[in-house]
Each structure stands twice: as C-alpha cells, then as structure tokens.
C-alpha cells in the first residue's frame, strides 16, 4: 500500500518544485491531479502553496524608503546641486 502511494504521490520536494515551475510551464492534467492529492494529504505543502500570494504581494508593495528617509534623501540631493 505504501509503495502504491509512493508511486502515485509526489515527494514534498517535487511537489513544491512543481508549484513554482507551473508559472513558467503549465502543468498537465495528470500532474495537477497528483499535486492536488499531495496537498490534500500534506498540510505543510498546502501551506507552502498558500504562502505564495502573500510573498508576491509583499514584494509588489515594497517601497525602498520610508517617507522621512525619502524627505532626507531629497534634502541632500537639493543641497548637492545648490
């Protein structure tokens, strides 16, 4: 039985790899099904899948400088020019 599951299901390493590479290369149906069942039985991998959008929106929203830092930076620039 264990062997059966091992053949059917991906390892966690493979599963997380496929989740990330699916952005570059869409998964075929069989891969999707295998991944679906893997996540169903493996909470850490399910958690990994869910964390992706959070990390993405963090990166999209990161601004380099806080408002005070930006003001200071502009002040220095103006000083250099004048």
């Amino acid at each position: 039985m264990a062997t059966f599951f091992n053949t059917l299901l991906y390892s966690c390493k493979k599963a997380t790899e496929l989740m990330d590479s699916s952005e570059a290369k869409p998964l075929i149906l069989m891969q999707k099904i295998r991944l679906y069942f893997h996540k169903l039985l493996c909470p850490p991998c399910e958690c990994y899948a869910k964390s992706n959008p959070t990390i993405a929106s963090f990166l999209k929203n990161t601004q380099p400088l806080k408002k005070e830092e930006m003001d200071e930076f502009k002040r220095n620039l103006r000083k250099k020019i004048n």
Binding site: K14, D20, A24, P44, C47, S51, K80
Partner: protein, 192 residues
Amino acid sequence: MEEKTKNKKQQFTAWVNDFTDDLMSWAYHKTSSKETAEDLVQETFLSAYNAFDNFKNESAPKTWLFSILNHKIIDFYRKKSKSLSIADNKQEDEANNRVNDLFDEKDNWKNPKEHSFEVEEHLLDNADFNSTLEKCMENLPEKWRMAIHSKYLTDVTVDEICKQLEVSIANYWQIIHRAKLHLKNCIDKNWK
C-alpha cells in the same frame, strides 16, 4: 550668466521634488538594494545637472532622467557581473545547503511540524510580519534576491532578467524556487 545658473538650480530643485520618488522605485525594483538605488538616483541627478545644456526640451524631463538612470543601471549590472565574487558563491553554497537540509532522504519535509506560518487575512498590515519578511529577504544570496525581486515586476521579461543575472532560464526557475523555500523557512523560524 548668473541668471542662467540660478534658473538651472531652480529647475533642478523642482525636478528633485517631483521625480525622485518614481526614479527611486524604479532603481530599487531593478537592483533590489536601497543603497544602490540611492547611489544610482543621485548619480543620475548629478549627470543630468552637468549635461543640462544638452537637454533641449525635446523630451519630457522625466523621460530624460529615466533614460539616464537606465544607463546607470545597465552599467551597474555590467560591473556587477564582472565582480561576482567568491564570497557571493560561498553565500550561495550555504543557502543551497540550508534548502537541501529542509528535506529528508525521501525528499519529504524533515520537520513537517515546523510549518507554522499560516496565511491570515491582512497579514501584510502587520508590521512585525513585514519586518521579518524584510530581514529574510536580506539573508538571501544577492543573486537570488535580485531574481525573486525582479520576478514580480510585470514590465521586465524573464529573458531580460536572465540576461542581467547571467543565468539560463531553467536555472532561473530553480533560483526562484530555492529562494521561496528559503524565505518560507525563514518566516517559519522567525515569525510567531
């Protein structure tokens, strides 16, 4: 003559006030480093100041400044790829080992219970979470950080990123995957 210099200075003060934010965001997204972005934007303004007489109002000032900045960014990467040092490689090896160490001999999670990082709504409004994630980003090897950062820029193609980082496309997706594993693990360990 003095009148001319005075006008130039006034003009530049206005440009600093109006365009610094956009130039900084662009430089930061392109280089993933606050310090580098600051340096490049400052150099951009200084170069523009020295070349001001060549600027003939044919393009919008903002477009002109951005084209100078883009040249600076290209130069930065050119120098960077030449100087990617042994220290960087060592940092990458260590990071690779840490990532490999997350899995057991059957390639399953070594410590499945460690995955405490649950995604909650409004997590990104949480200042503690943001600063943890920021620190985790800083711990990534430089190449990985650049790769993962530029990935989320819709206006940069994967081809372009690969060219800048001098990696193949297959290698790039490996880097993205490893960087994400690294980040996830770092958050699990450091954020409660």
